[in-house]
Amino acid sequence: MNTLITILFLVFAVFILAAAIMTVTVKNIVHAALWLISSFFGVGALYLLMEAEFLGVAQVLIYVGAVSILILFAIMLTRDLEGSQNRQLTPRWWIALIVPAALFGVLIVPTVMTHAWQLPPPPAGQPPTISSAQQIGTAFMREYLLPFEVAAILLLVAMIGAIVVAFEEREQRRRVLTLAEQVRLRRQRQQQVATLPEPAVSVIQPSEATSGEM
């Protein structure tokens, strides 16, 4: 069983790294997004391999299911699909390399230094599961209640902000009329024409012409 897990780990690791490298080097930006998605998927598989089922599934749900679809939407709605063959590498690529490397170092160095490595692995029996849904839930509701609530409020604020922005935009936008409304509008105008005195007809006429464009 251990051999199988080692082989699977190596396969996933190579796949994740290859996909990540393709993400930053490939020319087509949609391809880059798709490589990013496969990299996310590989990370989810790694979590599953570590029997962190909740983390693995949450990774797929949030990164593959939500974030990447948002990325694809943004690319497809904002970019010219034909002319996206330019290279993604900028002249200042080394700055972009240093910043993530430094951030990664900040995370990984204390982890490596302080973690109690269990080598050789503990014997089979009752393995300490630190990642079951129940334990994560308990941790959120007891130990880390404050960060959890702060994150929740942040998300709520973002949601309300999005709604406010959408409503402001909607007020400025002219509503597209449905066919039934157009028919009713025309009927209303005809009634107005019928009730108005004779000279007003010439005033109504140009607006009648514009209504056809809507």
Binding site: M1, E53, G65, L72, F73, A133, R174, R189
Partner: protein, 452 residues
Amino acid sequence: MTDILRSWIGSALPDWLIVLIAYLIVTTIVLFYAVGNFILMVWAERRVVARMQDRLGPNRVGPAGLLQPIADAVKMFTKEDIVPRNADRWVHLLAPVVSLAPVAMMLAVIPWGRGWEPIDLNVALLYIVAVSAVSGVGLMMAGWGSNNKFALLGAMRAVAQLVSYEIPAVTALLTVVVLAGGMSLLNLPHLQAGVPIMGATILCNDPAGCSPLLYTTVTLFPGSPNEPVQALDLGLGWWVFTPVGLLGFVVFFIAALAEGERTPFDIPEADSEIVAGYMTEYSGMKFATFYIAQYILNFALAALAATAFLGGWQGPGVAALANMDGPWVHVAAALSAFYLLAKIWILFFVMIWLRGAFPRLRVDQLMDFAWKLLLPLALVNIVSASLMVSITQWTDTQWSGLVNLDGFASWQRQLIAVVVTAIINIAATYWILSINQRPKEEEWDEELVVAT
């Protein structure tokens, strides 16, 4: 499965290979089961819709046209595979695969019968939601890779619909998580034992006088350390019979229709508007792959709805047969698998029925329906589910809090919970429906005046 293989060829092969072979066999069985159902579903849909529209439907190939899907498959295989010249070849090729694979993965965690479950995943419900979200990526790839305006429009519509209807679906499933005290799917049928409305709360007072045909040993709530008890069990304590389960089932089923792109919600492939949506540029086997993905998605969603709300494999007689020894356990398993299949097909028949009965929605109606009707209902339902759990399960000794009902028998608590949640759910449904049905006439007239 692993154990059987181990006893057969355990000495000849290393252990990890045996595990791998066992998984392969189980996967093959599940996939064949799904594809066999897919073939029958295509035939049934064509026949039933034809019947509703006063036509005959396919009736030439084989008895009553039963072999028509096979003829269709042969035609699909022999069709020329056309890829548009300006399409993105690899993305175009991979898109059907990416949309079928997650759908097939959904089948892995569903308990197909008593003791017939491929994988015991303790986050199975979350897994299904996560995996079904992945197929959106496949649709996006199809829309973009085809280099066709219709395909892109269809993909945009499909993904927008998928994303927005996921929210009511997940919220409806959350009520199941609250009721079950966990996200595992394997527990759900066990928890829905008993009699309608009351569930497994009518206990046996005299252990000697209770027939094992009617009473089974159940652990009332796996979330709490309750002792196993003897309860009246007809296999009908489905959650759909309680107010919470009924509302959850209705919301989930409608959302599942939208996720499976069934007819009132088939905007992404509206053939009168955008040819065939994201499938426009596909032919031959690639088109067939999309087709299979869609039907198996419907099959899996129906199985999920049946397991979560309609008791899964639970039904009259299963528990009684399983209580007997020897080969009867296998009979019970077969009977339970039949019950689940029957429920899936009834749900699928309702899907066909809706297709025959309703016209297609508009996009704004689609969004209004999800956000203004389904989501509030599902949210109210979560409150009801929490109340139900607190009334039926909380005691003074453990998780004391909201209500103090110590000393009540379990069936009394269940009755109180059902009445309270029924009042809440009916009132909320009536209120939300009346808000949504209020005519918007005045508002429209104002805007019409502005528009002129």
